[in-house]
């Protein structure tokens, strides 16, 4: 069983539970949750707090007749248990690429988006580093979330692949970046990361992740602002990667 040691911070979890986290980052949290029982417990506790806040919240007057209308509608839909179960997703075959097996949660989302083969993605490769945008339906930010002048910075959801021992170009973030290790592992100046680990970085982090030597590393990366390459090779990588 996977025991991630790097978890989303509690405030990000709270935004996720409240439904105010942007859907793109929510995707990363959901996949981490599918791998991390510790955070599932945190989610349950945060939902408990949400239930308490809701049950103590204010009331808005209802239109007259609304209750009768809803009570009458209870008759319309019959078989309750079947309806409750019909929403269940079918068991998904995880996507695979050699030894790399994607988590079921991500496989399910990718298969729903028409991706049945990881090699069919458009990989941009340079040396031991490759990346591919995931063709997910565009995650729009809430209009209110977009600071003036940054409309082009829609969130990007990518797979990053590092060959054993390969180093990702040194970079900083203009926006936030969520990285989730899907296979293998990497380290940077701040720590060591294995499968299931989630790293949530704000704009002030400058790092150069290096894959472990014992195998390739595959990560899910979600960014809501362009990366800035800061290392010496960054200058010529930058246009190539269109980061």
């Amino acid at each position: 069983m996977i025991h991630p040691t790097h978890h989303p911070p509690i405030d990000i979890m709270q935004e996720y539970v409240a439904g105010t986290l942007s859907p793109a980052f929510g995707l990363g949290i959901e996949i981490h949750l599918s791998l991390c029982s510790q955070c599932c417990e945190k989610r349950a506790l945060l939902e408990q707090v949400g239930g308490a806040v809701l049950s103590m919240g204010g009331k808005a007057p209802l239109s007259s007749g609304l209750q009768q209308k809803i009570m009458a509608a209870l008759e319309d839909l019959a078989t309750d248990s079947e309806m409750a179960k019909s929403g269940r997703a079918l068991q998904t075959q995880p996507l695979q690429d050699g030894d790399i097996v994607l988590p079921r949660a991500l496989s399910q989302i990718l298969r729903a988006a028409g991706v049945d083969d990881l090699t069919s993605l458009k990989w941009r490769k340079i040396g031991g580093y490759g990346e591919a945008d995931l063709p997910l339906p565009l995650f729009a930010k809430k209009a209110t979330e977009i600071p003036p002048g940054t409309f082009e910075d829609a969130p990007r959801v990518r797979l990053l692949r590092l060959a054993p021992g390969a180093v990702m170009p040194r970079h900083t973030h203009k926006g936030k970046e969520l990285t989730l290790v899907l296979h293998g592992g990497f380290k940077d100046s701040a720590g060591n990361y294995e499968v299931g680990d989630l790293i949530f970085a704000d704009s002030d982090i400058d790092h150069a992740p290096e894959a472990h030597y014992n195998g390739p590393c595959l990560c899910l990366a979600i960014t809501d602002g362009p990366l800035h390459l800061t290392g010496p090779i960054g200058k010529w990588l930058n246009p190539y990667l269109s980061l």
Binding site: Q48, V49, G57, G58, K59, L66, A73, L136
Partner: protein
């Protein structure tokens, strides 16, 4: 503009509530005071227990229990749905949806897994997120067992969650007002922490630290 205060637990002592944003006290909250006050009231009905009602709905398809639950929760759910930005009509449309889900998904209610308020919160939250997301969202069903990690050994400790919810409500009433405000905004409004900071004029770090302090006091596991 003191709203009526109903204490969370049986004793009828009045407790200060989040609700009273006093524009005079903090100019930055002026923008918020334009929102209907009911969105940020903090009161609570006491009986009958929502868990008991939910069990009657689940096990006996009890329409009387559903009507009682409706009376207790529907106006709060509407306020919650309006707090997330939709108008009154949209809120009622979604409310209808939520109430029907409560009825039809009652078979999945398990008081050992989540108390009724928690369970209803997740249904309402999902409905509200669906309402607001203009784009297609990830399709993960949170109840899909295949997507749940195996629980850690010892994670199955039996807790009386209904009782825990009661204690939680009480604990919320004892938080400092500034933490209550942030807690309420973080759950009840449709604002991210950054947006809360912008609206209140507080630094983002202050918003986050108040929220962390509040959560840590409510649940030591959330520290």
């Amino acid at each position: 503009m003191i709203a009526p205060m109903v204490p969370c637990v049986a004793d009828k002592t009045s407790v200060p509530i989040i609700a009273q944003f006093q524009p005079a006290r903090d100019k930055s909250l002026l923008a918020l005071s334009a929102r209907p006050l009911h969105i940020i009231a903090m009161e609570r009905t006491d009986s009958p227990s929502l868990d008991a009602l939910m069990l009657r709905i689940r096990d006996h398809r009890d329409r009387t229990a559903f009507a009682a639950l409706f009376e207790q929760m529907a106006p709060r759910l509407k306020a919650y749905l309006m707090g997330k930005g939709g108008g009154a009509q949209m809120a009622e449309d979604v409310l209808q949806n939520v109430m029907l889900k409560i009825w039809h998904r009652a078979v999945t209610f398990n008081p050992e897994k989540a108390s009724a308020t928690t369970w209803i919160f997740t249904i309402a939250r999902n409905a509200r997120v669906d309402m607001l997301r203009k784009t297609i969202k990830p399709v993960l069903d949170p109840e899909e067992p295949d997507l749940q990690p195996n629980p850690e050994p010892g994670a199955e400790d039996i807790v009386d969650l209904a009782q825990a919810s009661e204690q939680l409500c009480h604990a919320i009433t004892t938080l400092p007002d500034e933490q209550k405000e942030i807690l309420n905004l973080a759950y009840f409004s449709d604002l991210s922490h950054g947006e809360i900071a912008a609206k209140t004029g507080l630094a983002l770090g202050t918003v986050k630290s108040r929220l962390r302090l509040a959560l840590g006091k409510l649940r030591k596991d959330l520290r």
